[in-house]
């Protein structure tokens, strides 16, 4: 309950900061939308239509109370409700982000186990090096290299564009393959390193020694005991990353022309569509904060020694 109150307070702050950043700064949105040569009467009409002629605090409370009831205002350009526009894009981003996380975890978890299972082997060194390298590869570079290999040279996959699920599953999967791999690649290194270092720590715990003493097999110990006891940091990092990416994998969506949330924000910025940008930023921050809360709650489920709002019990 305390967490929920905290969440509301943070979200209140987030909405205020979003609003202030985007509204206090110079530049008349009417001028930006209608063009520099717009007649004063048209500007006046635009301002009153979108309520821009009201005082700042009135506009803020209007926007926030609307946001609570699911009304984020209407776009300056299309006059469509902002929430509708955003909800139209969410599934696209969500699909890529979730697929990328699953793919990254499918590779990272076995890779981390392999590192602990065979320390100081060529396998461990290969995994370590590639994990370190992928962390340092900027998204654009990974995306370009993938496009070069799979779209330009091999011609197996489309370089850009998105095909909705309604156009067929295969086409949809082909269109999201490269962006998904791009995102997964940047996560793989982080997840592998986090999990591996936690597993190394867990190996020294008494209960693992006990498990060995009981004569359990190596594999069983690694998976049942060590892996399970080492998931906390991984859950945190995955949760935080999900939060970041749900707000839009801006770069990846731009390179692959994927019409997701990140793309929407860039389009909004390019068209100076204040309401859309405001809505996307608010949504991105909300997703981020809520996912962080979920991670906190998951903690207690994974490690019963941790209590919410308290310290780890000895």
């Amino acid at each position: 309950m305390q967490r929920v109150v905290q969440l509301v307070v943070v979200l209140g702050g987030v909405s205020l900061l979003t609003f202030l950043i985007l509204n206090l700064l110079p530049g008349d949105p009417g001028l930006a939308v209608l063009g520099d040569n717009a007649p004063p009467e048209a500007l006046e009409a635009f301002r009153s239509q979108h309520g821009l002629d009201r005082a700042l605090h009135v506009r803020y409370f209007d926007w926030v109370s609307g946001a609570v009831t699911g009304d984020l205002g209407t776009s300056f350009r299309t006059d469509q409700p902002v929430l509708e526009t955003i909800l139209d894009r969410v599934p696209v981003s969500l699909q890529i982000v979730v697929f990328a996380q699953i793919l990254a975890l499918l590779i990272s978890v076995p890779a981390a186990i392999a590192c602990v299972w065979k320390p100081r082997s060529w396998l461990e060194r290969t995994i370590n090096t590639s994990a370190f390298a992928t962390i340092s590869v900027p998204n654009f570079l990974a995306a370009y290299v993938l496009i070069l290999i799979f779209a330009v040279h091999l011609g197996w996959l489309p370089a850009t564009g998105f095909s909705r699920l309604s156009n067929g599953v295969v086409e949809n999967l082909r269109s999201i393959a490269l962006p998904t791999v791009t995102l997964a690649l940047s996560q793989f290194g982080i997840y592998t390193r986090v999990l591996r270092s936690d597993m190394v720590d867990t190996l020294e715990q008494d209960y693992v020694t006990t498990a060995y003493g009981k004569g359990l097999t190596n594999r069983r110990i690694l998976v049942r005991h060590v892996l399970r006891g080492s998931l906390l940091s991984l859950v945190t990092v995955v949760g935080v990353n999900m939060g970041v990416l749900l707000g839009g994998a801006v770069i990846t969506e731009t390179i692959f022309a994927i019409p997701g949330i990140g793309r929407l924000m860039i389009e909004g910025i390019a068209q100076r569509d204040l309401m859309v940008v405001q809505g996307v930023v608010l949504l991105a921050a909300t997703a981020y904060v809520v996912l962080n809360l979920i991670v906190d709650v998951l903690y207690t489920a994974l490690d019963p020694r941790i209590e919410l709002g308290g310290q780890r019990r000895a």
Binding site: G247, V250, I251
Partner: protein
């Protein structure tokens, strides 16, 4: 190396790779970025007849871009932008974030609560999204990029400085200094501030890499330094249509970006694991 555990030759070799090579790479690149423009061809001069020339072509070591401009000259000029943004934004953050964190951690109570709640608010935004929003509405320019990056990464520094300050304040030498009647100003300057430097600087190494990536992302999206001034991000974006046929236009700045980030990560990693980096950490 007079430790009781004498490191094996192998682990020593690894340490060299871990610390010295990235230092050399970064130093060479920084030097090249500073003096390069004196030697390399003019980065702005277009030559459309010689556009998209591959690397190692006569007169153009790294080839030319879509307008026939020399890639090496442009990449080095981009390096200057990256280094400037990385160092400037991190320095700004160290100064402001460090001050805020030390203030919060030392005075505690309401001041602490006030500062940290504002920091939590900023922290509630994904970094790139916040930087984008700020850069978009400040307008694209080098100065605004630095402001956008600094503002959106400030809480990390404040948190680190606050945590360090709180643990130092409890140490004996601080409480004895206070008992001897030293004024707050003396304790803050002489005892607290110097001890927050080391953890903050270690973090700063990683943060420079992050700042460089955010700068590249902003200019990739057209919200950073404006053309014709080359920045790695905008060069990578300009190379997109040439991926087929002249991939070097995008891959050269991309490779430089990768090299810098990798070097910074290696350096930060070797500092964190306690291994003394060559020429650093003393």
């Amino acid at each position: 190396m007079l430790d009781s555990t004498v490191p094996s030759i192998r682990s020593r070799a690894r340490r060299l790779v871990g610390a010295r090579i990235p230092v050399v790479v970064l130093a060479v690149l920084t030097a090249a970025a500073m003096v390069g423009p004196l030697f390399a061809p003019d980065s702005g001069s277009q030559d459309l007849r010689n556009a998209r020339a591959g690397p190692l072509s006569p007169g153009h070591l790294l080839g030319t871009d879509g307008y026939g401009r020399d890639m090496l000259a442009r990449t080095l000029e981009g390096a200057r932008i990256s280094i400037f943004v990385g160092v400037a934004s991190v320095a700004l953050c160290l100064l402001i974030g460090g001050t805020l964190g030390i203030t919060a951690g030392y005075w505690k109570g309401r001041i602490d609560a006030g500062i940290m709640r504002v920091m939590d608010m900023v922290l509630a935004f994904p970094t790139l999204i916040l930087a984008l929003a700020i850069a978009a509405f400040l307008g694209p320019s080098l100065r605004n990029v630095v402001v956008a990056i600094s503002f959106s990464t400030l809480p990390h520094y404040a948190r680190l400085a606050r945590a360090t300050t709180m643990s130092i304040t409890q140490r004996d030498f601080v409480s004895s200094s206070a008992l001897l009647g030293a004024p707050h100003r003396h304790i803050l300057w002489r005892h607290i501030a110097p001890n927050t430097v080391s953890p903050l600087l270690t973090y700063a190494l990683l943060a420079i890499g992050m700042a460089i990536i955010v700068e590249a992302s902003l200019s990739f999206l057209g919200l950073g330094v404006q053309p014709p001034t080359p920045s790695w991000g905008s060069m990578i974006a300009e190379g997109r249509p040439h991926l087929q046929g002249a991939p070097h236009v995008a891959l050269v700045p991309g490779a430089f970006l990768f090299m810098v980030i990798l070097s910074l990560n290696l350096l930060a990693d070797s500092l964190r694991s306690g291994a003394p980096a060559a020429g650093l950490g003393r």
